[in-house]
Structures are given as structure tokens and as C-alpha cells.
Symmetry: C2
């Protein structure tokens, strides 16, 4: 149905106006200026004709045979809900609400917005906005916006949660000759949101690249599912603001979006194949790269320059981005030797020297391009005394346009490169403003090539005993036990995770008896809902070898805890088999407001606490993602085995992660969760949960 | 004497030419075009007159009364040494050699370069180059270069090791209306180098900002000493290429500079107060900021925007850069409330909304500026439908020019902000191309404010016994012992570092006897010049409690080592008192080719190895720098004391670092060095070196 929104037979402008400076006039003018054959119908109770077009007092007055597919609403907010309903009654199923004064404006506005949403649901309407700049389709010739610049034709579909950022992008694009297929200002996303447009752009034949500025996503799990699918066919590049906590606060005051934690966004974007841009310009740069060039088949980059210094800086930037400065084949070197002077550098980066003619430049580029060790080229030109930048660009434009490998240009300088820059632009070839920006975009192209190759494999069916876990969690809820500790190890067992042999005792004789049953050495831990860091209050005793040890430990532990935390309630003492020779890791989960269960993995102890050496993924995950989580921490070598040390049983961690993923997906009542530590034994010997902590939603 | 180089009475061009396209003509033309009252004298044996100027066959033929202070040499490389000597004989003491064909061109060229250096030394000449673009002074009207663009007048002094990067910077500056006081292409730095020009620029009244592109520094220790001084009065901003190993390789092939390790450059720049730019554009951006604005007095930033989205992105960028998004005083909020509509955001970032007039914008800026909680402002303008960017800029230009706080602008967009951008430029105010670039430059301004406040305090005199260390090292050299291990603990002791009670034994009975003398528990370690990772081959036994333990350990250790490393020579077995309850840290040193002794500090074990959680400083260091090294590792909380744990004796580590700094400064024969571990006890209880390894230069 969104097809009709972007390519309507007729469009009505509710609130169309004659008065200069009014948004209702700007929209009408934009529609008229862009339209080829779309019927434009002003709606205004006061005028019979506006800008030469027949106007109607209400959408209900427009004859049915006009086939109005889209209404653009630019009237005061308080009148919008009624207008929306009238659209529905008139059979106009697509609406763009430009008017502001909704959720962003306080309680009354939020109420109005909910009214509109209810109407959309009731009548099955599709609504963009409210509080937006409008929409543009360069194919159909629709400019239903009050933007000052009309988009040029192109293959980038862009959406933005900020109308102002739409205007920045359009203005930038006009200057740099970058075209769009569709352009959508999302506004408050009351009805249609990024997920709807991701799907729509995916199916849109004129769109090759999808770009977005987002302050948050409305439905995280759907976003992951949809983006994962879309990114397999088209690159999805998103700049997400509110990265830092300071930025997030600013987001809240701006549009009322509750920004998810940045770790969750990073994980979700990675898991769904979204390319995350670090800035607005980077998003535009990258989109332009995808829009203009074929994808490279690998990360082997050649650099061609007439300035050694720029070559080095580019090599630095490539290397930081994880791109390889490729080694050329022998024939490449030989061919370069034939055309370049003796002082030139034939190896990568190729330095054609400051006095290189346009012919030499062009020939060097061609030689490098045919080398099978080259996946992409960064081409640098500095305006040296003998350099005719314009002539060089003239010579190479056709090579770039016909190339099956991306060639990203940086004409470095100002005045003397302007003409060359314009020439590139006229030919639809971007000139990156700095070598770093060219390198970042090359990185995006190369990264997307691997995103496409990676297939998502969901986890298979796990053999778990959901009923046991269910009854344990229900028990906790009915007893209003928000925090579950060691006593809840049964939940883990029921999901197939091995737990340490462990029992809770309440008296010293019981402690000794249980220790003998479990077998020495044992560990004793205090069990208390009030104590989260047991070590700090003397609540853990290790390596107890016989009954005497147990007695001493029992007495001193109880007295220590009373001393350090007199207010702590002691639920009992836990006796555990002491295991050694393993590595301690942590598996945690908390619920992200946008994406739901966010899994965390890291090595135990200080690694997590001070070095933040942890990885994240949004559940549910399969084995591949679990492997990625494990191998992406910096301390991975410590469990993979270093210096002849036997590797830990990584497969068992993968299994545990996937099972935890299933557990927290099955039970939304689990708000937070941590196994700390999970003791991982040598390869083949599995892993054992030593302690656990659940936070249950008991409301 | 460099004063005369940049402001000569007369300048001779050796190799001046009539032929178009020749460098010898370009230089002459540039000199003529720029000069007001400098006498320009072409030297060419074939012509009596060039471009209307009287020419002489040789510099020796120029009459003495011409007072030639500077000769620019543009003849073929093979003729250069002779010309240099003739200059000296003619009394011309300043020379710029533009000609290429020296060190960069192979063995013969390197020989020629050494000839020139010898002549400079012999006659006391000052020489720039060879292989450079030339020099420019906008004050005296000297353009002794073949650059296509003349620099505009300004207060930035720039030097560059790459001539091509000079042309990029000049061309960029012409377009963006940025001016320079002096401009120097360093070329091969055969004689004059960055250190000379740092000092010269420091004393140059027309220079307020010093910028440089470097591929390496020629004399590291001098650089630190000089830059440390200069950066106290003028900001020094350097982009150093060859950051990564790939980039470094490219440097080597480019100018033959041996690039020091990046860690050493980072440390040296930090220690000397140099601001390191990450890219050429960042260096230019930052220089421009220093050139145009007063220094902020702190890191509290206000953001003024007409686009909420841009405000959030800017808050993100500020926060990442460690800038504070300040909280306004009450009166600021009240004043803003008076002029802004209800939907505007009065708090930081201030959102004046999309339809804000120029007056409102200007007023909001003024209100924010007077707030004492604001040290600097980032001003953002997006070209929304109702926005008249040019009018806004017109209204605020005077405020910016008169402001005592920096106001960095980002007019975001393209076509519709061009006029505003030009207007800013015409007034000498930079428009940053992206909000991120504005934020980075603001960060540089704020950082420089703290650099100036920080004073360098060298370490005081240490009580050390240099003679003992000297004789131990001389012994090693005369015995050709390249690697010293535990047997060299005496070197540490002589420099006042406590070492563990430890002896080397060769037989089992001796081992038992020594263990009893030292007192149990003890540790045993293999001593072998061939074994660097003792644990890997079973070469360490801990916690030996009595004679039986010692016997078992002795036998199994010897057999293990034989098994794992049959070729290893065993020099003996070391018996040490086992210390516990301390934290293990590492102090290391290796010699950087540029900067000399590079000290390293980190926590022992995996922290160093996998997490690279270490800090560096170039010796000699004082206590302040040692404290900085210790506190800048991420695992610092582990030694500072966490969760009620007693802090480690950090003062004793400071003392050890300063003593090691002195040791490695006193003895250049120590090539590499590591105490691993240094056992740090609780606060007040000191630290003890447990093991040490020296690499001695025995050649």
C-alpha cells in the first residue's frame, strides 16, 4: 500500500495556503514544482482556488473519481485527529502529518498522537509523522514536503527521525550532486516507523542503498529480524545518535524516545548486518560510495598518489581500519617500472611523483586495477606545482566509471582542485574531502561484502525442561522473591546447564554432614538477599579440607558478616564441591528497553570489572553468534589456550550461551541474570555453573 | 641568524631560469610576485638578464654591497655541493636547497647530502632541504618556493617534511582564507630540522600557532626538551605519519626516515605538550582554531542549535572527547525562556527551533556566552525551510569576533549555507565542515589550556651508587654476557631498588642449605640465558615449605627443562624468599631509535600480554610523570585499592620508576630492561624486585 503513498494518482494538501511563509504554501509549491502527472488538490475551507488549483473545503468534498491516494496534513495539531478520520472516511488511506504539537509538545500533544494512532488502527491507515518534514519520491515526481531543496534523482533511500537533519542532507546532496530515490522524514513515528520503511525500501526497484538517521528504534526485535533480511540484499547504513549517556539525555529531551543502551544498539546492528556510521557525514559518505561503486571482493587495497606523504597517511588510515595494503603481482611492478621515473615508488602505495602527467596517472591506475591482488583503489591527487588536476581527472573519469573495482578519490587541497572536484561530481563520482573519509567508505564497502556472505543460522531446538523452570519461577513470583541466588540452580539444570554439587544448610552440624556427603575439599558461601559482593564481607571460604575447617569457617563467616553488614538477613550457608583447574567466565543478561534480552560474556573477575572486556549480543542467538561473542573479547587467548596450556572447553560455553539465550527468551519474567562464575574445564570436560543470580519480575 | 633567512636584504636564485615550466623560473617568479623591497638576484652562467633582473654567472660574482643573505639553489643535484661552498665563500650564510637527488635517491645522493652537511658544519651555514619546496614569509614578503599558491598573511607557522603536503595545505588555505606567518618545506632535513624551526617560530613575533607535518624527528631528546619549552608559550600541533607498522614501512620507502615506534611518539608528544592531530585536516582545523580564538578556561561547553538532532550528535561527540556539556546557571535559563518559544529546549544543548530568526539566534548566543559555567560554545545552524543562514551569520559575526570565549561554528549542509560560510571566512572565522571537526578543535583548545598550566618538574638528585652498577655492567661487557638475569640484581640494589633475598645455587645440597638460610617458604627458578619464559618449560616452583619440597622441586625442574628445551644451558638454580600478599607489576625499557630510553609500566601477567594495558614515557622522568604512567593504565584501580582492599604502595613504584629512569639514562649500554615482577606491597611497605632481565650492548 505504501506504493500508492509514494506514487499517488492524486494528493490532497489539507491546510494548503496562499500565504507566503506558511508551511501549507511551501508544501503546495513543492508538489507543483516536482510533479509530472500527479493531481494536486488543495483543501482549505476559505479558498476556492490556490496557486491556480481548484481547492475544496474538506477532503470529504473531493470527488471520488479523483482517486486521492495521499493526504498531506499541515493544519494546527488540535484539528489533526478529525482530519485524519475524514481522510479515512473519504477513502484516502495514506497520510503524511507534517504538523507539530504532538508527543514532542507535552501531555496534551501525546494524547492527540494516541488518538491518531487509534484512528490508523481502526481504519487501517498508513501514516507518516506527525511532526515531520514530509516525504519525497524522485521517481514519481512527488515532493510532499516543505523542504527548501528538492532531492536529485538517485538510488539512495534515506529516512531520518529529525526533520532538520533531512534538510542538512538534502542541502549537502544538492551541492555534491548526490541523488535519492526516496526521502522520508519519520517525525514522531506514531504509525509508520523505520521497520516499515526498511521493508518498503527493500522492495523498491529504484533503491540500491538504504540510509537512516535514527535516535532510537521503535520495535527492537522486529528491527533485528527485518534488518537482517534487508541487509542481505541492500546495504543499510545508520547513524544512531545518543551514543553516550550525555547524548542520550539530549535525545530524551528532544523527541521523547527512550534511547537504548549503546551496547545493545551495537550488538543489534552487528547481528542484523547494519553498517553503523559514526557521524552524519560518514553516513552520507558511505551511502554515496555504495551508490556509485561496485562492491570489492576483499580487503586488499592499492593506493595511487603523487605525494608520498599522503600515501603514508592513507596507509596508516587503511591499516587502522583493518584494510590490507596489498602486495602487487610481479607483472604490475614490471608494467609500472616501464612508465614511471626511477625515483617513483613502484610498490604500494604507488608514488607517481609530483610531476606526473595525466597520462602517467591514468596508466598507473589502469595497471594497478588489473592486478588480481587488488580489490579496490584509493586515488590521491595533490596540487603540486606541475600538477594539472583537471587534466588528470579528465583522463581517469572513464576508467573510474567503467571499473569493476571501487576507486575512491581524494583530490587534496582547495582552490586548485575545485575544477577537478566539480568534474568528478558531474560524473557522479564522489570526491572525498579527506583521505580518511575515503578510507572509511572503502572500509564500509569491504565490510558489506562480508556481511552479505555471512548467513544467519538460528539455534536449533534445545532439549530443555521448561516446566521445571516455569514452576520454580512461578514459586518465586508467588513468594515475591525478587532476587534468586544459589537456591535457583535448578532453573539452570532444567535448561541443561551443569551446576556444581551444592546444598544450603542452616546449622553447623548440617554443614559438616553435607560437606562429608559432597566430599572434600568444599567451599562455603553465605546466602543472603542483601549481599551481592560476598567477598567484601567475608562471605566466602575456599578449600576447606576437613570437618575442623568447616567448623572454623562456619563460625568466623557468620560473625564476619554480622560485623560488616549487621542488617543483612542470612538465609543459610551454601556448601559446594570445590572445583579447580578451570577458568572462570561470566554469562550475564539484562533487558534492554528497545531490544529485550541483552546477553553479556566475559572472563571472570577484574577483566569484566575494570577492563570492560566483555561482548554483547541480543538474544535469541545461535551457535555462530555465541562463538563470535566468545572470540571477540580481548582475553580470548586465555581460554583458547596460550603457551602450550590446554584450551578450555569453548564448545561447552557456546552451548551454555545458546541455552541461556533460550531461557531468557522463554521467560520474560527474568529481568536480570548472571552466572558468575561459570567454571570452564579443559576441552571436552564441559563447564559448571558455580553461582547464579536471577532478578525476577514479581509484580 | 634565521631572521636573515626569512627577511633577507637580497636573495640569490642559483639556477634561475627564463624557460617556462622550469623550477628555476617558478621560484624567480614567486619571489618577484611576493617581494616588496627584497633585492632579487638571478644566478645563471648563460644569461645576463632574466625576467628583467640583472643576472650573474656565479654567486661569487655578485658585488659584496648587495648584502645577499639567502641563496635558493635549484640546479642539478650533482652541482649542489660546489654551489653551497661558493655561497659560503661569498658570505651567503643561509641556503635553501630545492633540488632533489639526495638521500631520497639512493647511495650517490646520500653521499652528496653528506658533503653538503659537512660544508654547513665547516662554514657555519644554515641550510633548508635539500629536496624541498622552499620557504615563505608573509611578513617580509618572501616567497622562496616553487609553490603554485602564495600563502596569505596570518599567524600560523607551518613546517612540513613533505613538499606535496605543503602544496595541499597552501591550496586548502587559499580556499578557506587561512593565513600563515612562515611556511617551511623541510625536505630531507640535512641541516636545519624541526627542532631549529620550533625555536625560531617560538621567537617569531608574528607567529602565534605552530603546525607541522612530520614523518619522524631527527633528534628525539632535543625535540622533547625544545618542544616542552615552546609549548608553554605557543600551541604546537603536529600530525605524524607512519602511525601503524604498514604506514611506517611506507615512510621508510619515502624519505628514508627511520620511523620511531608510535608509542614513543605518543609519549614524547604528551610529555612535551605537543598536540597530536590524527590527520592533516585535523591539524589544519586545530591550527585555525588556535589562530582565530581565545583559549577557553575549562572544558565546559554549551551547544546552540536550531536542530535537535544535530545537538544530540554534538553532545555525543563532546562526551566522547571528554568535554563537559555544561549546566547553565538559573539566570541563563530565565533569559532564554524570555526569548524562546515554549517548545524550545532551554537547557544544554539549547534548541532555538527550526524557525528561529537571526535575532533570536544572536540573542540566545549572547545569553549563553555570559554564563560563567560556559567556557566555549559550539554553534550549529541547519538550513531549514524558514532559516536564513546568511542573515544569522551576519547577526552573529561581531559577537564571535568580540568574544572572549571560543565559538566554533558548523553551518551544516551544502548549497544553502555557502553564502554564510563565505561570510564567516571573509571575517577570518572558520566554519567547520562537520560538527565532529568543530568538537575536535574545541577539544584541542581546551587541552592546550591545561598543557600550559602543567609545569615540568625534572627529578631531583637520587642517592645511587653508580660505581657499583658501572662495574657490574663493565664485567658483563668484558665477559660478553649480552643477557643478564637474576645474577644482576646488584645493579638494581645499587640504584636503591629493593630486591628479593635470592641466591644462585648449582647443586641440590647447596639448594637445601640456602633455602634453610633464607627461610621457608621459598621459590625456585631456573637460571638460563636461553630461557625467557620460565613457566613454559616448568622452570619455576612456588611455595616450597621444607627440605623435601626443595629436593622434589630441584629434581623435577631440572628434568622438565631438559625435556622441554634440551638445548638450554642451565647456569644454576635461583632460590628466593617467597613473598605473598603483594601485587605484581612490570617495569620495562627499550631503546627507541628516535627518543632513546622508552619506559613501560603495567600490571603483571595477562594484563600486559593480552590486554596491552601498559603506559609509556621517555626517560628521564620525574615523579609527576611516573605518577601519570601508573595512574593511566586501565587496571590502576587494582593497585589503588578496590572494595575496601588496602591500596598498594604506589609511592614506592613512583620511586622505582624514577630510579630506573636514572639508571637507563646513566647507562646507554643497557639496551633493554625488565623487572618482572616488581612485587608491590601494601601502602607504606614498599616494593621488591623479584626478577630482572637486562640486555647489554656488549659490542
Amino acid at each position: 500500500m505504501l506504493d500508492r503513498m509514494f506514487d499517488p494518482n492524486a494528493v490532497a494538501v489539507i491546510g494548503a495556503s496562499k500565504s507566503k511563509g506558511k508551511v501549507g504554501r511551501a508544501v503546495l509549491e513543492n508538489l507543483i514544482a516536482a510533479s509530472n502527472n500527479i493531481d494536486i488538490i488543495p483543501i482549505n475551507p476559505k479558498d476556492e482556488e490556490i496557486l491556480g488549483l481548484r481547492a475544496y473545503p474538506s477532503i470529504l468534498d473531493v470527488p471520488k473519481e479523483k482517486n486521492v491516494d495521499l493526504a498531506v496534513i499541515v493544519i494546527p495539531a488540535r484539528l489533526v485527529p478529525e482530519a485524519v478520520e475524514q481522510c479515512a472516511l473519504a477513502g484516502v488511506m495514506n497520510i503524511v502529518v507534517i504538523s507539530a504539537g504532538f508527543k514532542e509538545a507535552g501531555i496534551e500533544g501525546a494524547h492527540r498522537e494516541r488518538e491518531c494512532i487509534a484512528l490508523c488502527d481502526k481504519y487501517g491507515l498508513d501514516m507518516v509523522g506527525p511532526n515531520c518534514l514530509g516525504i519525497i519520491d524522485t521517481d514519481s515526481g512527488l515532493n510532499a514536503s516543505f523542504a527548501a531543496n528538492m532531492a536529485l534523482k538517485g538510488n539512495i533511500a534515506m529516512m531520518s527521525q529529525s526533520g532538520a537533519i533531512c534538510t542538512v542532507a538534502l542541502d549537502w546532496a544538492e551541492k555534491t550532486n548526490v541523488g535519492f530515490s526516496k526521502f522520508v522524514s519519520l517525525g514522531n513515528k506514531a504509525d509508520l516507523d523505520e521497520n516499515d520503511f526498511l521493508q518498503f525500501f527493500d522492495n523498491d526497484a529504484s533503491t540500491a542503498v538504504i540510509a537512516a538517521y535514527l535516535e532510537g528504534v521503535k520495535n527492537g526485535p522486529d528491527f533485528i529480524r527485518i534488518a537482517r533480511h534487508v541487509s542481505q540484499s541492500k546495504p543499510v547504513i545508520i547513524v544512531k545518535s545518543g551514543r553516550t549517556s550525555v547524548g542520550s539525555r539530549a535525545v530524551s529531551s528532544h523527541t521523547g524516545t527512550l534511547a537504548g543502551s549503546d551496547a545493545a544498539y551495537n550488538a543489534a546492528f552487528r547481528q542484523s548486518g547494519v553498517i553503523r556510521a559514526d557521524s552524519l557525514l560518514e553516513m552520507l559518505d558511505m551511502s554515496r560510495a555504495f551508490s556509485s561503486y561496485p562492491l570489492p571482493k576483499g580487503r586488499n587495497i592499492a593506493i595511487v598518489t603523487n605525494a608520498g606523504g599522503l600515501g603514508i597517511l592513507t596507509a596508516d588510515a587503511c591499516s587502522s581500519a583493518g584494510l590490507t595494503i596489498t602486495s602487487f603481482g610481479e607483472s604490475t611492478i614490471n608494467e609500472l617500472r616501464k612508465i614511471l621515473p626511477p625515483a617513483a615508488n613502484l610498490y604500494n602505495p604507488v608514488d607517481v611523483l609530483g610531476d606526473a602527467s595525466a597520462d602517467v596517472y591514468a596508466r598507473a591506475l589502469e595497471i594497478v586495477l588489473v592486478d588480481t591482488n587488488v580489490d579496490g583503489v584509493i586515488l590521491l591527487v595533490s596540487p603540486q606545482a606541475m600538477t594539472d588536476v583537471t587534466e588528470i581527472v579528465t583522463k581517469i573519469v572513464d576508467t573510474i566509471k567503467g571499473s569493476e573495482k571501487p576507486i575512491l578519490c581524494n583530490l587534496a587541497g582547495g582552490t586548485r582542485v575545485s575544477e577537478g572536484e566539480n568534474l568528478l561530481q558531474k560524473n557522479g563520482i564522489p570526491n572525498y574531502q579527506s583521505l580518511e573519509r575515503a578510507v572509511d567508505s572503502m572500509d564500509a564497502l569491504c565490510t558489506y561484502y562480508s556481511i552479505r556472505k555471512k548467513k544467519y543460522v538460528p539455534s536449533g531446538e534445545m532439549s530443555v525442561d521448561k516446566e521445571i523452570a516455569d514452576s520454580l519461577i512461578k514459586d518465586a513470583i508467588s513468594n515475591r522473591k525478587r532476587i534468586l541466588g544459589l537456591e535457583s540452580m535448578g532453573i539452570l539444570s532444567s535448561y541443561g546447564i551443569r551446576v556444581v554439587d551444592s546444598r544450603i544448610v542452616k546449622t553447623l552440624p548440617e554443614a559438616v554432614r553435607v560437606s562429608e556427603e559432597i566430599g572434600y575439599p568444599v567451599v562455603m558461601k553465605i546466602v543472603s538477599p542483601d549481599i551481592s559482593h560476598k567477598t567484601d564481607v567475608g562471605g566466602i571460604r575456599l578449600n576447606l579440607q576437613h570437618a575442623d575447617d568447616v567448623e572454623r569457617a562456619y563460625n568466623s563467616m557468620v560473625s564476619d558478616v554480622h560485623r560488616f553488614m549487621p542488617e543483612a538477613r542470612i538465609a543459610g550457608i551454601q556448601i559446594q564441591k570445590m572445583l579447580s583447574g578451570g577458568k572462570e567466565v561470566i554469562i550475564g543478561m539484562n533487558r534492554d528497553p528497545q531490544f529485550g534480552p541483552l546477553l553479556m560474556f566475559g572472563l571472570g573477575g577484574t577483566y569484566v570489572e575494570f577492563l570492560k572486556d566483555v561482548s554483547f549480543a541480543v538474544a535469541p542467538i545461535g551457535a555462530e553468534e555465541a562463538k563470535h561473542m566468545i572470540s571477540s573479547i580481548k582475553t580470548y587467548p586465555l581460554i583458547a589456550g596460550v603457551r602450550g596450556e590446554a584450551p578450555s572447553d569453548i564448545n561447552s560455553i557456546v552451548d551454555a550461551l545458546v541455552r541461556i539465550s533460550q531461557l531468557v527468551t522463554d521467560f520474560p519474567e527474568i529481568l536480570e541474570f548472571e552466572i558468575n562464575p561459570l567454571m570452564v574445564m579443559q576441552d571436552g570436560k564441559g563447564c559448571v555453573a558455580m553461582d547464579v543470580r536471577f532478578t525476577i519480575d514479581v509484580k
